[in-house]
Symmetry: C2
Subunit: 251 residues, 2 copies
């Protein structure tokens, strides 16, 4: 019949040792050659087994150092709903306060960046139109948990006090509040979550394994006249964050 392939047997073996606390979170495993010899399999079989467990978040491989038992890290809850848009403060800070986590973010804004094709389509403007681009790294307890790149057409905010999302008197207030300051009422947001693997750069920024799973959210805010006024690409690593949508039901 179908007997288990060696690398799955080794994976179970490793999993069991972790469950039995032979190896604790943070411990370094013996080298692959050592495990292979002990279990009577080739070095490569051990590698396959470890790769499987790494992809499941059980182990963690560090080049040049060794393979470690992953530390169970509490996942940050990212709530996305209408209730999240408070009159004061940024949505992200609301999320973090609820968890009693130190929240912070770093950002870099570039003014008058020509819109790439996809962004232009999402904003309903011509390709190359000037935009204000802001990239964010959101931190929870000092660790990066979320990346975001926001695009606002210069035609909407240009020449106003809120042209820079993270500058001026309304810095960090969130898109909805900032737009309200210049008379733009945002009526709704559209979010399109899509699963994919992290790029090498994203993995490095988020402190996750290369090619780990992330949710890539394309978010667009629309004003009450139906025109898009901001769009963002948000990258949420599955290992560290759980995304929650709250949907009110009206009948």
């Amino acid at each position: 019949m179908s007997e288990q392939p060696p690398y799955l047997r080794i994976a179970d073996e490793l999993r069991q040792r972790i469950a039995e606390h032979v190896w604790e979170p943070g411990d370094r495993l013996p080298s692959r050659a050592q495990i292979g010899q002990e279990c009577g399999v080739g070095e490569n079989v051990v590698r396959r087994a470890q790769e499987l467990l790494i992809s499941q978040g059980v182990l963690e491989g560090r080049a040049g150092s060794g393979t470690y038992v992953a530390e169970p890290r509490e996942r940050v809850r990212v709530v996305r709903s209408s209730a999240r848009e408070q009159p004061s403060g940024s949505p992200f800070r609301q999320d973090m306060k609820a968890l009693r986590l130190q929240s912070d973010w770093e950002s870099r804004t570039d003014a008058k960046v020509p819109a790439p094709a996809e962004i232009a389509t999402r904003l309903g403007i011509a390709e190359g139109e000037p935009c204000v681009r802001t990239t964010y790294e959101f931190l929870a307890d000092g660790k990066p948990v979320q990346l975001s790149t926001s695009w606002e057409p210069y035609a909407v905010t240009g020449g106003t006090l809120v042209v820079l999302p993270e500058g001026g008197p309304h810095a960090g207030a969130g898109v909805v509040n900032r737009m309200a300051e210049i008379g733009v009422t945002i009526s709704h947001a559209v979010e399109q979550p899509e699963p994919r693997h992290a790029t090498a750069e994203e993995a490095s920024l988020l402190g996750i394994q290369k090619a780990a799973l992330v949710t890539h959210i394309r978010r667009t805010y629309y004003s009450d006249d139906g025109r898009p006024v901001e769009t963002a690409d948000i990258v949420v690593p599955a290992a560290h964050c759980e995304i929650v949508y709250e949907i009110p039901i009206n009948r």
Copy 2:
């Protein structure tokens, strides 16, 4: 310096030939040995290149038959918002009608299934409590595009006309409408989308490549007294569906 590894060069080569319409969607590629000889690389290098393109949805491998150029398949838009819950008809049918697609689904209901641990937690009931479990396969134009397994506590619907989601006078009306019939008002839903790879069974049911990316949504409906009355695991294949959340902003 870092020169491109052979398998990436071959991947680009293959990609280019598809872009140049040397190979059209649906065509079968030459065998790996043939491509390898033609490009002056080993058979395995071609395999790696093809695996890469398969994981990106550009190619499609069929065991024993060959490697094919993937047919571009229009993605179904799955809208998830409060506006979707109409007084009549099921949410899924609303989605499909908007696309002028033939919509349909198959379902199988099992009554009095003991709740597994995770489901019990989500429903706020004890493990093993009886539930009505219904599994769905949603189809668009005859092709499966979405899987769902729904759990309702027997304590909520037991003994009423709506105990069977797909039976009785309110069959297929959707959870919100069915619950309304027995005086249970649903106030909101919570959805938790999580990226992961498809299981072998899911891939087979959805007609997608093994281990293709899916979004696994854990959805729970809450009644106006704050108690969960239904929860479901929904599997949406990224290759065939785009998920859209519409979030109203109230200030």
